[in-house]
Amino acid sequence: MRIAISVILFIILGPLIGGLLSGLDRVITAKMQGRVGPPLLQPFYDVSKLLKKETLLVNKTQDFYVFAFLVLIIFTGCLFFAGEDLLLVVFALTLASVLLVLAAFSTSSPYSHMGAERELIQMMSYEPMVIIMTVGVYMVTKNFYISKIVAFDKPLIMYLPGVFLGFLYVLTIKFRKSPFDLSMSHHAHQEIVRGITTEFTGKKLAMIEIAHWYENVFLLGFIYLFFANNPVIGIIATLAAFFLEIFIDNSSARVKWEFAMVSSWVVAISLGMVNIAVLYFIG
């Protein structure tokens, strides 16, 4: 019953919270840049306008991949909030991300194609750290179930500082924030236009946007896991992490893919694996 409630809450509140976070992001970003900036609810206005627009496509299958992407992202989030297996959540998320990449590939358009390739590089960059994160959590709590991980009586951050920092690093990629917004920037004036989403308009673009709202909510949930024994600190830490991501976004320029990949892998080994090794040899 509790599971059903949290799943339903996620499905209903997920996009609301995600949209608000996105609005907050834009407000804070504007403040950091000394602009007036849009209102808090701007993301909702944007999406509702997209929904009203005519949908132009370059082929019909594109629509299918985007729809499947949205469904699987929601599914992944539901698994997360239902307290299911952490690895399963990671795998489901990978499947969803692959579908978005395939959506871009299917258009056979140069800008989308380049975006898709870059997105794959990004995935290859963050995957190792994400798997190391799940392993670290398992080693401490002896459990892959999120429901059990949350119930663990000590803060995970105490045992997994390296893993946490490493995960925070790759989270920047997942949030599509600068310096790692290689595959699609929030701004459509980069060299590959809008990367992955170049060939998406109207409702399809809105679907991608909503999927990202959902995604951001459970990605922040991962941060919460590290502080889960105390909900207040957990929420504060999560918001702080979110703020940090915005700050990084505004204070750094986009890097080349080589740097994105090499640095994430170095971080995964030097922070993540070393943390795991320490746990293994001490524990």
């Binding site: 370059v58 871009a104 358009s109 800008y111 794959l120 995957e127 750290m129 798997i131």
Partner: protein
């Protein structure tokens, strides 16, 4: 027991029949009918032995041993002769050494060793038998149509189909023999036959390249064979054991060295890192050969013995090093696969990588890891054979097996493309089998030695990259692309369709496969079973349902969607695939995948892998002696 004999002997009969067949038509019919009979016999075997756990058979015909010895010596003489003829003296030398060791066992040692059970069947043998029997006969069926086309496309190559099918069926017989042998001398005999079959099939085309590659394969496998023979001699003289079941339950101190030597042989056969070059070279052979020998069955023989010996390796330094060799192979082969444009080479590297993962599990040797390893064998065999067959057909249709040429395949030849996509998805995506087993492997590794996680984490990331970009090529839809008229033979399409369905079915049947086939074996060996939580199985099934149901949306015709040209910076020319360049000239659009050769190039990475894995393999042998 009759059935076991039948499965071993029947393919030999078929092989002789195909060799005697006067023309192609009759031979093709023999192949088709006997493929059917073999798969039917395998089904009956499955049905009969699903309830039974373990059966040993005494077979006391001294004549069998005699015949085997004679054949082995004949093979030895043949290989030595080949080595001298083509100036590959090292091969002759290795083979001669092997023959001497063999004679030593046969004439000096074997008298003092009591061998009770020559054959046996348990759940692991049964699993292997199903794979060999069903996939093997599908591939034989496929070969009928494929080889016909092959010789139409390659007029310069001598048509030796008589020899081809003969070896193919001899190989099936050897595989069955190997998995049912409890007598290690028998196992070794069949092992050598697979080596010879592989050598003959790689050299099929008779070109300079294929001959060299065939010799390369022969050399590594003969090296492994020598290690195997030495292991048997040690076992017979020191421990007085020549049976698989006694070896596994034997005392670790006395059996570790032979076990590690057999593992060494397993590493050569399953093309692990210092020895992988032979498998890559083997890709010159016609595609059914690659599918049968070099992906789904023969290379599995290598990991088969390693997994059999896993309980001995458990918790030893040598076992850890076996795991390390597998881990490095998985990681490095996956990384190299990123830079490959040749589809068959990607498949070869991916095969090496996955075998590496299985070897890692075997080296760890806990109940969880063996469970994962057997699952990996099953799922990999099904999906990989499908992929090979698809690539073979695609190569004939498109005239190339370069991945770039497959751009827009889904529109040109949708059915073939969908089968290829199923195969690729089966290799790396949730909720398909390979991912389930990778998950199991990860869990097993974390529970024993989390340091090894590093290989899975990075290796899987690379896997994700090269499979997805290949899939992207296939599903890309260039505008104004027409459907190609293709004629694929029924004997080709049938096995591919069946394997596509099988790739999906093995995932849906995962709970059954795990509880009825894999787990009984794990319990038999470790007295402890492994399984996946029911909740997770259900979620996996839901995901599978989503994957299967979502495409229905494609069938609904949606009028409200408006199709436009792709965005080309506003400089679209007359048709969607052309645009205006900076000087106003019309340019053709060309899209290529990333291969990042500078970073993941074969040359450099392969050398690194070679160095590390050679060191680890040597250390493994040394450690076995120290323990």
């Amino acid at each position: 027991m009759v059935l076991l004999f039948f499965l071993v002997l029947f393919p030999i009969g078929v092989a002789l029949l195909t060799a005697l067949a006067p023309n192609h038509q009759i031979r093709n019919w023999i192949v088709k009918v006997s493929a059917g009979i073999i798969s039917a016999a395998t089904c009956i075997l499955t049905f009969l032995f699903l309830k039974l756990d373990l059966n040993y058979y005494e077979i006391n015909f001294e004549a069998i041993n005699r015949v085997m010895l004679c054949l082995e010596l004949l093979i030895g003489v043949y290989v030595i002769y080949l080595g001298i003829k083509d100036k590959k003296y090292l091969i002759s030398l290795l083979m001669a050494a092997q023959a001497i060791v063999l004679c030593w066992i046969e004439f000096k040692l074997i008298g003092s060793v009591e061998i009770k059970h020559n054959m046996f069947i348990d759940k692991f043998s049964l699993i292997m038998a199903i794979l060999v029997g069903i996939i093997g006969s599908f591939i034989c069926l496929y070969s009928v149509g494929y080889m016909h086309d092959y010789h139409k496309h390659h007029k310069e190559i001598k048509d030796q189909r008589r020899k081809f099918f003969f070896i193919l069926f001899i190989f099936l017989s050897a595989m069955f023999g190997m998995i049912f042998s409890n007598n290690l001398m028998w196992l070794y005999f069949f092992w050598e036959i697979t080596t010879l079959c592989s050598f003959l099939l790689i050299g099929y085309t008779g070109t300079e390249e294929s001959r060299n590659n065939a010799y390369k394969a022969l050399m590594f496998n003969v090296l492994g064979g020598l290690a195997f023979a030495v292991a048997l001699a040690l076992l017979a003289s020191k421990a007085g054991i020549l049976e698989l079941n006694k070896l596994i339950s034997g005392e670790k101190v006395s059996v570790l060295i032979p076990a590690v030597l057999i593992c060494f042989a397993g590493l050569t056969k399953s093309a692990q890192m210092p020895f992988s070059s032979w498998l890559l070279g083997a890709m010159v052979a016609p595609t059914p050969t690659s599918a049968l020998l070099h992906s789904s069955t023969m290379v599995k023989a290598g990991v088969y013995v390693i997994i059999r010996l896993a309980p001995i390796l458990n918790d030893t330094a040598a076992g850890f090093l076996v795991a390390l060799v597998g881990g490095f192979t998985f990681l490095i082969a996956s990384l190299i696969a990123i830079a490959q444009t040749d589809a068959k080479k990607v498949l070869a590297y991916s095969t090496i990588a996955n075998l590496g993962l299985i070897v890692t599990c075997g080296g760890i040797g806990t109940y969880e890891s063996v469970w994962a390893a057997v699952l990996l064998i099953i799922f990999h065999a099904v999906a990989k054979s499908l992929l090979f067959l698809c690539v073979g057909t695609v190569e004939h249709e498109l005239g190339s097996r370069n991945i770039e040429v497959m751009h827009g395949m889904i529109k040109k030849m949708p059915i073939l493309a969908i089968m290829l996509i199923v195969g690729i998805a089966g290799m790396f995506l949730a909720p398909f089998g390979m991912l389930i087993s990778k998950w199991a492997a990860l869990k097993a590794i974390v529970d024993t030695n989390p340091i090894l996680v590093i290989f899975i984490a990075f290796g899987s990331a690379a896997t994700l990259f090269f499979w997805t970009k290949w899939m992207g090529k296939i599903i890309a839809i260039p505008q104004k692309e027409e459907r190609m008229e293709i004629i694929v033979k029924k004997t080709e399409i049938l096995p591919m369709a069946a394997l596509s369905v099988a790739t999906i079915m093995v995932c849906l049947m995962f709970p059954f496969i795990s509880s009825k086939l894999v787990n009984p074996y794990v319990i038999e060996v470790f007295n402890h079973g492994a399984s996946m939580d029911t909740g997770n199985v259900i979620i996996m099934l839901i995901m599978m349902g989503l994957i299967l149901l979502l495409p229905i949306r494609l069938l609904v015709s949606r009028k409200e969607l408006k199709e436009v040209s792709i965005y080309l910076g506003g400089a679209n020319a007359d048709e969607p695939k052309r645009f205006y360049g900076s000087m106003g000239t019309v340019q053709k659009l060309y899209i290529e995948n990333y291969y990042m050769d500078r970073y993941f190039g074969e040359g450099r990475l392969f050398k690194i892998g070679l160095t590390i894995c050679s060191a680890a393999t040597l250390l493994m042998l040394v450690m076995a002696f120290i323990y």
